[in-house]
Subunit: 195 residues, 4 copies
């Protein structure tokens, strides 16, 4: 089965998710410069969520270069990832609405954790289908960055109830780790195309 | 006529439908943990609707692998399906807003029933265009799963006015039946590509 | 220049327009069966707008089969069409909100008139680029359906201030005229591919 | 790496941005003709934003014709551009909501300035990847239109606090400058394909 439509559908869903978040930026009715002040944390959380969804799109893009074909299990592992990503605008808006209350900061982390887990499951399903000697299995390797991210999310969720701003910083740290795109695939694809 | 643009347009519409539902998850203003409680059924209905739309996309994807060309009737049978699917976010939100009142639970079932009927019509139009000996006609076969689903929907809609939670369980049962992707097309396409 | 990205972008915009309209179907808070009554005209106007946008997509799809290449003027004639189509959800919602007041029913007609005019301009720009002997020029011919539609819209807009329901019926009549897809392109493309 | 998915994703995001703006056109509850009066500036700001996003899409389309391949840096320079564009609906709505207060008119200019800067950065990253003798480097040339636009934006933002309508006129002037599509790429591609 062809991977083209899965890529196109994922692009569509992620494009809607990334732009729907701007609807959470409620337009303030006030014209005063002070109306800008409460917008600052809202804007920063929008930036963080935009970067997160961008990272998922970018890594999804890189990973699917090494994918040859898809099956039913891959379709659903991909939909599972899109499900958790689709909740990112919701938890971002919830966090903003409650002025970064501990519970909501933790909820944001839970959605990030479940998105990351869904991504890990997707990689496992892809490797299972393509075999341990496939290009994709080699490119993913031990998935150090993925595992360290999951660990940081768990710590951040626990800390959120005690020191919510530290949790937010930890979310930003994970984003920074991933902002560097996944060069594993670029490297291997280049090696492969060498004579 | 080429099927590519029909697939792309359907992917676009379904991608918007599946992500627009998250807008129905109204952000609660409260920061208390109790604010989570009323979210639970809302979240479950979101999951169910997401799975339903995912099933339609997945089966649409599988079915169009066996489609060679499209005509005006197919375009409109497809738009008819997209019309009923586009009402899924509305009935999901309506059900949530009325705390799963009997009428709204039934309305949700009616939209599922009409979506399923539209899908059946689409398959008929496709078979009419491609012929009874075509790959798509063979893959669809007697469409047992489709017919049993329609029957369960009718029962669930009637039950909704009496025992609304049973209706909800029945909706989930149909989703479970379909969650297993339509392997008929995978099988036939594999056989076809065999020497 | 390639037409692929213009088609993909148009598909994306039209897909968003067609699904965004469902957001105008405000979820009623009431659970009574009477809550359904005011929804009936709203639902019918949603159906009409969905059919209109579907017609534009279908005809756009058919017409671009006969297009070979695009230039800057075609890009902007196409964006001009998408602009007026993007106002369809707005005028639909406005009509619903004011319970089909004369001014709003007329406004709906004005957006339909301007969308149809934009489509006519697009066809002219395409013919100008491809030449009078091109496939697309032959397929469009005298554009009888296009001209009759423009005339009906003008009549309906004028009637709206006097008999708003007749105006609504006239909008539905034009939709019915176009619901039959533009077979001119199918015919010509078939003839062309004949030996 | 292939540029196809980057184009498709950008098309998706821009399609959502351009149609989401219509949601800012709040449906008035009044049926009086006077209800149209406050809609006039809102409508004009919608037109301006639609044209701006259309210009970005059109120029993006033209520029990527000359792009051969993409890398991680290009992906992120492109996401950076999409980020600022995604704020256009927000600042348009904010300006409307505050009846074009000076601060909000300036904020609109700031988003235009940052979008334009992001576009300039994207061109630089593309030239850096493709080399100074590449088709894209030649097509961009000294980027006179880009630089003059940045200068006008800066002037308009400063003027907004003093004479907000002059700022709005200046925004429209820049749009007019760019409405003429970027023929540099068309010319060069034609020359290239000549024998």
């Amino acid at each position: 089965m062809n991977k083209g439509r899965l890529e196109a559908f994922s692009d569509g869903v992620i494009a809607v998710i990334i732009t729907i978040m701007v609807l959470e930026l409620k337009v303030p009715h006030d014209a005063d410069p002070e109306a800008l002040v409460p917008l600052v944390p809202v804007f920063l959380s929008y930036v963080l969520s935009f970067v997160y969804v961008g990272i998922y799109w970018s890594n999804h893009h890189h990973m699917f270069h090494a994918v040859h074909h898809v099956n039913g299990a891959i379709l659903w592992a991909n939909l599972h990832l899109l499900f958790w990503l689709s909740l990112v605008p919701f938890v971002t808006g919830w966090m903003d609405e409650t002025h970064f209350a501990p519970l909501q900061v933790a909820a944001y982390g839970v959605v990030l954790l479940l998105s990351a887990s869904a991504y890990t499951i997707l990689t496992r399903v892809l490797v299972a289908e393509h075999g341990k000697d496939s290009l994709i299995a080699k490119a993913l390797g031990s998935d150090f960055k993925g595992n360290i991210s999951l660990a940081i999310y768990v710590v951040a969720i626990a800390i959120a109830f005690w020191q919510r701003w530290i949790a937010c910083v930890l979310y930003a740290v994970v984003a920074a780790i991933w902002l560097i795109p996944d060069r594993r695939f670029e490297k291997l694809l280049q090696e492969k195309s060498k004579p």
